[in-house]
Amino acid sequence: MALLELQDIHTYYGAIHALKGISIHVDEGEIVTLIGANGAGKSTTLNTICGLQHPRSGSVTLKGESIQHLPAHEIVTRGVAQAPEGRRVFGRLNVTENLEMGAFVRVDKDGIKRDMERVFTLFPRLKERAKQVAGTLSGGEQQMLAIGRALMASPRLLLLDEPSMGLAPILVEAIFDTITEINAQGTTVLLVEQNALIALSVASRGYVMETGSIRLADTAEALRNNEMVRRVYLGET
């Protein structure tokens, strides 16, 4: 059974019809990627899953239970975490406190501590800045923090919105290594990326979005070989 399933989702921003009937599913243990042009509705899709945006029609089911009417915080308690677009770190809390907020719904003190260590090994830079308030971090450091914070929730389903944005190339590699690694440990990942090349290399399946609807849905392998994808999203001429 699919861990997450979206059926015919329509989401609006006031009068703007941002998602026009999206249906996707993510199975337990998968890495699925969502690619698409600016304004296609990728972030809106993730926000709809998380409950930050409620769909006007359609259903979102998590483990067979429909969640589209639940408020965001309850969806999080069901094991969904997101590293949102634009980082959204808590600017006046320091790095450690931000990470603690990531583990807000968890109670296992040891597990939290272990995960904190893991984030610090993944991003040594954050360890150096552990007591600095997040608002003064550099853009990339904030991005690391946002990803780390999502990892801290130790979610079943991890939603990542353009994790590579603003990161140095060397770190991009590291991030994707980590994604594969935590996936191997049992976390399901839904990944939105502009860097389609690398996204498709770690994902098992992918969807291509265009102006609010799904244009293509296939295995990562097939998408990588798709003519249109190669031209537009992989930048090959």
């Binding site: 600016n38 634009g86 830079r125 853009g139 060397i170 090349l197």
Partner: protein, 256 residues
């Protein structure tokens, strides 16, 4: 000739050396990139140039004149414009109004002119509006002028930010990660656009970017910062081969 030169620029935050004894020369009409690991001090250096931060040591000369200690608005009047790493538009203004604000420094109208709306003022406004429309066409936002800036998708917001900066008619344009959040084909467009800025408008461009495709594709000179210090400088080809840069920044796979 160097349009901008920095000598021994140092910026500290508490005990942290964000930029340290940094020297750089930006040649007129060139595309110059600054790269470096996250937190290396690139954005901080931009902030020092534009007067957002005040560096403790060193000096920055623009066209031979020191910029140190000037307020941001006066620096803009000297001919330097910028975009921001986290997009900062005037969100609740329309697209064209954003651009018109960029033209602020080139207009003269004061309170009395605005109220009396003399012929001169009207002409000036009409001209400003025409220029703004032209800029919108130039950055590919024609027809979007009356949208609210917040409602633009991410990529268009970046374009608008550049458009707004262009409207100040700068000699030097600072772009902070303009390609972030763009997909490869959009990035291609951006690169072409930046080249056009240089070729058609004769601007000098200083660029921060993490996408090597952009950096290596369009820049003539690349400067590499790490922990606030310059560790390398050269043509893209030289930089790509520099082991120190590979070690600190590029990683093995990128070069492969």
């Amino acid at each position: 000739m160097a349009i901008l030169s920095a000598h021994h620029v140092t910026k500290r935050f508490g005990g942290l050396l964000a930029v340290s004894q940094f020297d750089v020369e930006i040649q007129e009409n060139s595309i110059h990139s600054i790269i470096g690991p996250n937190g290396a001090g690139k954005t901080t250096f931009f902030n020092c140039i534009t007067g957002f931060y005040r560096h403790e040591e060193g000096s920055i000369l623009f066209k031979g004149e020191p910029l140190d200690g000037l307020s941001p608005d006066r620096i803009t009047r000297q001919g330097i414009a910028r975009t921001y790493q986290n997009i900062r538009l005037f969100q609740n203004m329309t697209v064209i109004e954003n651009v018109l604000v960029g033209g602020h420094v080139h207009l003269r109208t004061g309170v009395f002119g605005a109220v009396a709306r003399t012929r001169g003022v009207m002409a000036e406004e009409a001209k400003a509006l025409e220029e703004a429309r032209h800029t919108l066409r130039f950055v590919g936002l024609a027809g979007r002028g009356d949208y609210m800036a917040v409602n633009l998708p991410y990529g268009d917001q970046r374009r608008l930010e550049i458009g707004r900066a262009l409207q100040t008619r700068p000699a030097l344009l600072l772009l902070d990660e303009p390609a972030a959040g763009m997909n490869p084909s959009e990035t291609e467009d951006l690169m072409a656009f930046v080249r056009r800025l240089r070729d058609e408008l004769g601007l000098t461009i200083l660029l921060i970017e993490h996408q090597m495709r952009v950096v290596m594709g369009i820049s003539e000179v690349v400067t590499v910062l790490d922990y606030g210090e310059k560790i390398a400088e050269g043509t893209p080809a030289q930089i790509q081969r520099d082991t120190k840069v590979i070690e600190a920044y590029l990683g093995r796979r990128a070069t492969a």
